[in-house]
Point group: C2
Chain length 365, copies 2
DNA sequence: GTTCGGCCTGAAACCGCTATCATGGCCCTT
DNA sequence: AAGGGCCATGATAGCGGTTTCAGGCCGAAC
């Protein structure tokens, strides 16, 4: 205390010396193993006095750990993964582990070598790949070959050899079906994303089956493809659909971006949503709440998924080889873009929306 | 090659042995120091053969580094910082350094001890605090006391003892002034955020000065305060302003969230934007492009700021004690919410917007 | 009064890599 | 022909922890 100020950071040896015990004793104390009460008190005092904090680098080296998990995100999905990160972080904090972030974009998306180098050499105990797609498969394979625990979140659904977290898109479709049927819609259109997207297919399938349960038939003529996932694709589709007289009272788009594109064009064309047509998307993007009208959507529980991804990763470290598929339920966020089906020819009063404004997702608390 | 498969990961010693050289030679090779051509070839071969990759943990321990920088983000600003992260990452990749992410929220926002623990004990060589506010000051102080290089991005502007990156809000104000003056507006309102926000004040000041340069006076009666930064505050303000007959032809709100709230209410009330009134925000939030009409705004070059923050952090590691304030210019993104000033009483034709759609910010490429 | 067994603690090896210092060739100089 | 430098490499001491193993001390059991 009264000593000359040391410039060097105190190490475990400093503490041991000051307390007059061996380093191993200090180490035991630090790790909560048994030490006598006297020593314990003395050590706490010395440590507090010195402001000592142990080097995780050294600890990890000794233990053969890396002390962090890597999260690879596809940077093109901007705001999508923020909640996911928070969920992961939440879980990590309880494990004295940190979150190493990297984007596939910057590591060189298609170069498995670079990712692997990051992964093996750098210092992660496992990786979580956010929104992997089929084209990322080589990277995943390589990581697996390197015996690196790995979890993919919202992956290309055809992957069978890695643990994946995904949403139940079929159920999501039926949720929309129930919602729209409840509002009295009977003629509904669906617009998918890229031609062979499995997400689209499942959402459509769920929608179709759900509607069927209500005795409503989704006509094949009312199933379209936007050709992509982006807002522009949705806008293009809207222009086509709205160029002709409306034959449907609601349109379901395969994701929120498409739906927002649709809403936008609807506004340009003066088509009233939801009075003339209801619009529903999928994903639960936060800014869907900010448009006018705000977008009814089926949200993915991102934060929860982050938590589970992390937990699953640690399980995978303990018990490698277990490959499973964890499904999450999506939940409806009814906002303003969906409303009662227009009554054909009926004199309808000004009816804005029945939106229940369940705006706040359970995990956004 | 033909040896029995070792379960253990190869280390530098394995490589040395296989190649018949000393570990120090391998180390030199790995670090790009000089070794003879023969040895070099032999080593590359052995390394490739063994699939060796070096342990960054060990390297860092030896070098006394941590090999990563920490980024503390305030989780409440969802999508705001994604571009920032990408900018940081971009810079980090060239330095074989990784990005450790943590949110102030989870580390316990107001508990400097916990952040410090993360910071000292865990393993970062420095930290970047994104969007720090005055209330985070104790954390910054503590980090500084621990001699930990630190950079604050878009900070509370009154901080003087740490390197900060910030936007030139005054200039941003004049940019808006030029834009609106160019569109013929002469009666303009400004709505600030929280009462004492310095950002608000600067933006207002720039606006006022800029307008003055065009011979336009910003009347004090036309300066309002929304009381907060959130969308709802903007909506509330809009309700008040739009309850009375319009006396201004344009309204400038202190950030995008407020402006989006305003737009929303304007739509509800059937007020045409920009035909009846132009609306401008600040920040450049990505989803400002998705609303209808899309929002004219002055954007912060987030990705660039991320890059610079990172570079500055490394400089600070080499040369501690240098405290400076780096300013960034914001740039106008003219979209649909701003248009020519309505001609009072004139018979105007349907004029949608003069938006030049400079939608894509330079750094979004 | 020994011997055995538990409980704490100390000594030292090790985790994988870097850096410093020492060494031994080889070429070049005078 | 001998000495001096330089170059490439080898040996080794850390970096800051953890863990194994051995040993000292004390009470209980024979």
């Amino acid at each position: 205390m009264a000593r000359a100020v040391k410039i060097k950071k105190p190490t475990i040896a400093t503490v041991a010396e000051q307390a007059g015990v061996a380093v191993s004793t200090v180490s035991r104390f630090l790790n909560g193993h048994y030490v006598s009460a006297t020593v314990r008190e003395r050590l706490s005092a010395v440590i507090a006095d010195l402001g000592y904090s142990r080097s995780w680098t050294a600890r990890n080296l000794s233990l053969g750990l890396r002390g962090s998990v890597g999260v690879l995100v596809d940077s093109s999905d901007d705001p999508w993964f923020v909640q996911l990160l928070l969920g992961i972080e939440e879980e990590l904090v309880t494990r004295d582990c940190s979150l190493m972030l990297s984007s596939l974009e910057l590591l060189g998306r298609y170069d498995a070598t670079r990712v692997l180098d990051w992964v093996q050499g750098h210092r992660v105990d496992g990786i979580i790949v956010a929104k992997s797609q089929r084209r990322d498969r080589p990277i995943l394979r390589a990581a697996l070959d390197a015996r690196l625990p790995l979890v993919a979140v919202v992956p290309d659904e055809t992957a069978t050899d890695i643990p994946v977290l995904q949403c139940n898109n079929i159920e999501a479709g039926t949720i929309v079906a129930d919602h729209l049927a409840g509002l009295g819609h009977t003629r509904i259109a669906f617009a998918g994303g890229p031609p062979h997207s499995i997400d689209s297919k499942h959402r459509l399938r769920g929608l179709r089956e759900g509607l069927a349960a209500h005795g409503i038939r989704l006509d094949s003529a009312d199933v379209y493809s936007c050709g992509g996932w982006e807002l522009e694709a949705g806008a293009t589709f809207a222009k086509e659909l709205l160029a002709q007289p409306l034959t449907v009272t609601a349109v379901v788009l395969a994701n929120d971006a498409l739906a927002l594109g649709f809403l936008r064009v609807a506004h340009e064309r003066g088509v009233m949503v939801p009075r003339e047509i209801s619009v529903v998307g999928f994903d639960g993007l936060p800014f869907g709440a900010l448009t006018w009208p705000s977008l009814t959507t089926v949200a993915q529980p991102m934060r929860e998924m982050g938590r589970v991804a992390c937990r699953r990763l640690f399980e995978g470290m303990a018990d490698p080889g277990r490959i499973e598929r964890i499904q999450f339920r999506m939940h409806l966020i009814a906002r303003e873009s969906s409303g009662p089906a227009p009554v054909i020819g009926g004199a309808r009063r000004h009816l804005r929306a029945v939106s229940t404004e369940t705006d706040r997702a359970p995990d956004e608390a």
